[in-house]
């Protein structure tokens, strides 16, 4: 039991360090763009996540359209039907565990929903929202 607890602890630390490191990078980028920047905000992140925009295919979509707003649940891509594993690292240990994957999908999905790449501020906010729900 103790061993499991230790392993879990080690795991949660390793996942969070990838995200924390990336959030720090994003924070310094955001600071460079605007000196007014203080911290990332999960409420702004939530707004980015749930608000609807005319996406790449001319359809009104939000992140919720494919991911749902329940991060312990699977989602389904509205265009391709691909099953999307839960966003929550607690439920889905692979989630947010690899920097290149986090960057890749943030870039792609901003382009799919917002038709442009997200700014450092936006990426940080939305990531903060995702981990705040865990």
């Amino acid at each position: 039991m103790k061993l499991i607890a230790l392993l879990l602890l080690a795991f949660s630390l390793s996942y969070s360090s990838v995200v924390t490191d990336y959030l720090n990078t994003l924070a310094s980028e955001a600071k460079r763009v605007s000196s007014d920047f203080k911290i990332f905000d999960k409420e702004r992140g939530k707004n980015l996540f749930v608000s609807k925009h005319i996406g790449k295919k001319g359809k009104l979509v939000s992140c919720v359209s494919c991911h749902t707003n329940n991060f312990s649940q699977r989602g389904e891509h509205i265009l391709t039907g691909k099953i999307i594993e839960p966003l929550s690292p607690r439920v889905n240990p692979e989630r947010l565990s690899e920097l290149r994957t986090i960057k890749k999908w943030l870039k792609r999905n901003f382009k799919d929903v917002y038709r442009r790449e997200g700014t450092a501020l936006e990426k940080g906010d939305v990531l903060t929202y995702i981990i705040s729900k865990d």
Binding site: K56, L79, N109
Partner: protein
Amino acid sequence: MKKFIFTSILLGISLFASDYKDTKSYSSQNDLYVKECASCHMGFQAEFLPKRSWNKIMDSLDNHFGVDATFDKNDENAIRKHLLKNASDSKRVYREIRVFSDSISKYSTPLSISKIPKFKKEHREVPKRAIIQKELKSISNCMACHTDAKDALYNERNILIPNFGRWND
């Protein structure tokens, strides 16, 4: 100064080490193809399409059938290399895949396997209701019926349509 040099050496080693690990985790380009492409759809065999098709597909990853499918540029190049090396007009291709790729006119550049003339002909009798059911979703979901599609086995013995059964011509 000594301390500075020591730190930069350490930093250099750690940077090199992380880079090394990254490329080592997928030892061949095929692994990379599976990782980057087959995480969303089947890893379609490169042998189905000619070089000009793969080039066009790789040139338009920012709008890949309606979604952004771009990834690391170095990885994109490695995958393009893998696809071009194994394209239908790069080497000898066998069996069903050969029959399909041979039916492509040299004046056309199909962007999906389902646009190949022989593909269309072979699938025209499959009932629409079999294709749109949730177990399939789309005609591009090879593995739903061709149970060994991953291993490039497309003959009739390896067909099982969900809720419809075996397929006999």
